[in-house]
Symmetry: C2
Subunit: 300 residues, 2 copies
């Protein structure tokens, strides 16, 4: 990654962090605000927000416009809520996340349940700011995309399949469908919302960006499965080896470690090709290319 | 209630029920769709949807326009999700709701958690239909209202205060603040969304409708506290006496049974006066007046 891209990422991470922090008041009722801040701030790679911002800029967004920043925060809040609820005892029962005790360990299950609920809601508040600076059509389009990517047709649906599939031998098609919903939908949505923040993006550019988002989303999950086997808990910041321990279907189980690694590389190549297919100026695609490399080469 | 109002209510309940059912596909991933449908359909008084529809019609909405129906479904989905999560073992640990086993009893805790999450998301899908029949400005306004009424500044915030207040002696102001958030915010939001579905409602009408919604919301909670003491579980469709058993602060604990009943009547009178203050034609206020009477005179 060139120095410019590091600076781009750093600057945008700071904007996202600051906007998220401002949007969550610690003094909100009882310990709820604290639990929400604990779940969201100072942790995570912020891949989804960076994808939103990089896509918006790729299609010509003015960096200072608030729509993409709001969408970036919103999708991170959805991601964060899903982690809080996923970690709860009735789901994955995990105690470690981003190197810290999970929310229910720190604040109790009832507060974790509420905090997750309120984080989901807050995502939709971010998408509908009251200051008149974001077009109503952009607000409505982003809500429509994020809700459909998060709900029963998206992330929550994927988690339901995941719940039902423990101990099952899934085919590659079934595994792909589960992950397309569980993690892919939100990554694709990051790209779609970024494009939706700039009215007037052509259908062909949108279609190529969708192909990019889909390939990247699947690559992300395949790499996740690889890391669950190859990385240790300290590097991951969460419990390693738990998919295997829980007898969950994974790409490593399906195609072996080397096969899964090769599949991730092939998907990254597809994503990169889709970016080229947009026909957008290469200089505006640099951040999306860098994020693609980051997804495949990450070690946590 | 006159025969016409009974017919009004019946017709609108059928529209809401049908729209909710159409919006939740039983065949959605794994058992998630079934759990969502179980949580929402064939139960509940649908007070919030009826308030949305009655308010929209009061300010001149065309009965056949989809905006108010979508908003009506959306707020019922938020209400339903909150009940699913509230009933879970880490919260109120309740096994009976609307006379049926609660969702986690029927489907397991993990599915109940997911179903609640997906119901919340579905509310925002309903508010942003893709068919182009609802103005983007109306979509954005309804999302802004519903998200703020549901999240940490609204319903979820009230639940956090509730969690923290068990066994505490609250002042009337503190109790009012808790209920203003926990149940009041959503009832007020029903009225506000109804008005927001019709662009161009004057500030003074909106202000009077807000006073109506606030008084009605508090009346609803006071009556709830009274019923928790006076009704049996079979009539309530949920476990009676559980506030007292859990040592929760209530209006009955604060002002005695007769005092609480008198307070509910005073609030109903305030709500009724606020409707008169709107200056809207009396014939268009009839449904809202009937709903107010229903809230105070209900026995479950």
């Amino acid at each position: 990654m060139s120095l410019d891209l590091k600076a781009w990422m750093q600057a945008h991470l700071e904007r996202v962090e600051s906007a998220l922090s401002t949007g969550m008041v610690a003094q909100s009722p009882a310990a709820l605000g604290q639990a929400m801040r604990y779940a969201v701030l100072d942790g995570g790679k912020r891949l989804r927000p960076l994808l939103v911002l990089a896509t918006a800029e790729a299609v010509g967004d003015d960096v200072s416009s608030p729509a993409a920043l709001n969408a970036a925060c919103a999708i991170e809040l959805i991601h964060a809520y899903s982690l809080v609820h996923d970690d709860m005892p009735c789901m994955d029962n995990d105690v470690l996340r981003r190197g810290k005790p999970t929310v229910h360990v720190q604040f109790g299950q009832a507060q974790a349940l509420l905090a997750g609920d309120a984080l989901q809601t807050l995502a939709f508040e971010f998408l509908t700011p009251l200051d008149g600076r974001v077009l109503a059509a952009v607000q409505a389009a982003c809500v429509a995309l994020l809700a459909r990517a998060s709900g029963y047709q998206g992330m929550a649906g994927g988690q339901a399949i995941d719940l039902a599939s423990v101990g099952q031998r899934l085919s590659e098609d079934e595994l792909r469908q589960m992950h397309r919903l569980k993690t892919g939908a939100l990554l694709l949505c990051s790209v779609q919302m970024g494009a939706a923040c700039v009215p007037g993006v052509s259908d062909s550019v949108q279609a190529a960006l969708c192909r990019f988002g889909e390939a990247l989303g699947l690559a992300f999950q395949v790499v996740d499965d690889v890391l669950d086997v190859t990385a240790d808990s300290a590097t991951l910041g969460k419990t390693a080896g738990k998919d295997e321990a829980a007898d969950k279907p994974t790409y490593v189980a399906l195609m072996g470690l080397e096969g899964a690694k090769a599949f991730a590389d092939a998907l990254a190549a597809q994503a990169t090709q889709a970016l080229t297919d947009t026909g957008l100026p290469e200089v505006r695609l640099a951040a999306l290319r860098a994020l693609t490399a980051m997804v495949v080469e990450r070690n946590n």
